[in-house]
């Protein structure tokens, strides 16, 4: 059975489960075994939730046998980034000072997935405090650097590192990650996966670690864009516990892959590795068969500075106790021991200017993007960085990422999918970014 189950998309597993050709308990055991055996090899797992998984799987099996099938996630295993609270396991936020932290409730996303019948098998490794303290290298997690299943000498990307490694290594069929700026798209891109950053407010953040209240989004990493849509439908929706969770209904629906209007920012490949540019050109040629591609110029605004200042100020405010007490010295990455102090020198006037400019940015980006179904760009500028090296990051101003700054700053949805391999044989990726609330259109474009 095992070889047949590996790297099967959720939709295919669901068909087998529904037809009772695949037992949810056997499926859970299969993935629990892989998590326990291979999780440590990739530093991908913080806690295997064996007891909870088997309990959920047995319930799913009983319900399906009784004809009470809940939907495509019923009986499907998954993992959650360890910044989502669960009542029955520690929630470490990837950080040594919080390694024994416990909550007495489940995050809304965990509860919604339980309602959908999904089976929580593991809480997955992540960069400490979701990377908000300014980390520069892959080791910034108390569980060690997450190792990329494509090459054990390279990193998975972050901060949803374990979510990327676990899906790419076949430890779980899908995982939940979070993105403030790049934390879903980065591991998805580097690990050859589909990753969906939903519109801000599409998914409740209740029970998720707050890094930046106005930037944090939760979303899936999976083998296909189609799977991302299936998962999003289960986790989207209003939540009285999170006032930013939108009342807008979401239903994952697919449409024919044709008639698209793609926008292409003229200098979007600046700074990309050669193979990334080459694969992007090939992707554009393929996209030309399902739609038109038009070069666009974004209005002249300091996109990266706007989003960067908001992120840096919100992050130090969210962790003011940890920073003020000096306990950031207990974090793993040496740079996280002092970087947050510098941000206390950002003036309130400048922060508020960024928040005012954010409104202008959101309007201007929507004005431009409303003429298109999606803006396209490389998902990452490079292949995955090596484990022992510092990586470039737009958050620290060492890389350019206008798409990420505008997309996250304006709260827009984006999906990242693999589009080839680079010079080192590692995945390269393509991203589609859409208007607010248009996840289905970008998923249509990204689906193969």
């Amino acid at each position: 059975m095992s070889a047949d189950l590996l790297f099967k998309p959720v939709r295919e597993l669901a068909a087998l489960v529904r037809a009772r050709k695949l037992s949810p308990v056997e499926l859970a055991e299969f993935h629990l075994g892989r998590l326990e055996r291979l999780g440590p090899k990739y530093n991908a797992v913080v806690t295997v939730t064996r007891e909870r998984a088997l309990s959920q799987a047995r319930r799913a099996e009983g319900e399906i046998a009784a004809g009470r099938y809940r939907g495509v996630l019923h009986g499907i295993p998954y993992g959650a980034k360890d910044l989502l609270a669960t009542a029955d396991a520690p929630t470490t936020w990837g950080a040594a000072p919080y390694r024994d932290q416990r909550f007495d409730f489940d995050a809304t996303v965990i509860r919604k997935l339980e309602d959908a019948g999904a089976v929580l098998c593991a809480k997955l490794a992540m960069i400490e405090l979701a990377g908000g303290m300014g980390y520069r290298q892959p080791t910034a997690s108390f569980t060690g650097p997450c190792i990329n299943p494509w090459d054990t000498g390279v990193w998975t990307g972050g901060s949803s590192s374990g979510s990327g490694a676990a899906v790419a290594a076949g430890l779980v069929p899908f995982a939940i990650g979070s993105e403030t700026w790049g934390s879903i798209l980065s591991p998805a891109g580097y690990c050859g996966l589909a990753g969906l950053r939903p519109t801000y407010g599409r998914v409740s953040r209740h029970g998720a670690m707050a890094l930046c209240w106005t930037l944090d989004k939760l979303g899936p990493l999976a083998l296909t864009a189609d799977d991302c849509g299936l998962v999003l439908e289960a986790i989207a929706g209003p939540d009285a516990a999170d006032p930013t969770a939108s009342e807008r209904p979401y239903r994952y629906e697919t449409a024919e892959r044709r008639g698209f209007r793609f926008g292409l920012i003229s200098d979007v490949t600046d700074g990309c590795e050669e193979a990334v540019v080459e694969n992007f050109r090939r992707s554009l040629a393929e996209l030309g068969e399902i739609g038109t591609i038009e070069e666009v110029k974004l209005p002249d605004l300091p996109y990266e500075q706007i989003t960067r200042i908001i992120l840096q100020v919100e992050a130090v405010s969210a962790f003011e106790d940890l920073i003020g007490s000096g306990r950031i010295a207990e974090l793993t990455a040496p740079e996280d021991h002092f970087t947050p102090y510098a941000r206390e020198a950002i003036l309130a006037h400048d922060y508020l200017k960024a928040v005012r400019l954010r409104g202008v940015m959101a309007r201007e980006v929507d004005r431009v993007i409303s003429r298109y179904d999606a803006r396209v760009a490389p998902g990452r500028i490079n292949e995955a960085p090596r484990l022992g090296q510092e990586f470039r990051s737009a958050i620290r101003s060492t890389a350019k990422d206008v798409m990420g700054a505008a997309g996250n700053g304006a709260g827009l949805p984006a999906v990242c999918v693999p589009n080839g391999v680079g010079a080192r044989g590692l995945p390269t990726s393509l991203q589609f970014m859409g208007r607010a609330w248009e996840e289905n259109r970008v998923l249509d474009a990204a689906r193969t």
Binding site: G201, T214, P243, T244, S246, E247, L301, P302, Q305, I306, R308, I309, Q312, G326, A329, E335, H337, F338, T339, Y341, A342, R343, E344, A345, I346, L347, D350, L352, K353, A354, V355, R356, L357, R358, G359, V360, A362, S397
Partner: protein, 78 residues
């Protein structure tokens, strides 16, 4: 000729050094100074953009009443 120190950087760095200097090594303080320089550059880019009086912060505040429901227009709904 030595470079003229940027007074804004000097002042803001002094604030951090004064508050946290006893926790930091000389190397860390040097790194922080570079970060403050970057932050001042970042702020300059923002300050260079002119806004209208009507350009409000993109953050939503609603008055709160514990007995309000979202349906009645109260509460902390977006």
């Amino acid at each position: 000729m030595p470079e003229t120190p940027n007074l804004e950087v000097v002042t803001l760095f002094a604030l951090v050094a004064n508050r946290y200097g006893d926790r930091l090594t000389a190397e860390q303080l040097d790194e922080i100074k570079k970060m403050v320089e970057g932050q001042v550059e970042m702020a300059r880019a923002l300050r260079a953009v002119r806004l209208d009086n009507a350009d409000e912060p993109a953050q939503d505040f609603r008055p709160y009443r514990s007995d309000s429901s979202p349906e009645s227009g109260g509460g902390a709904q977006p």
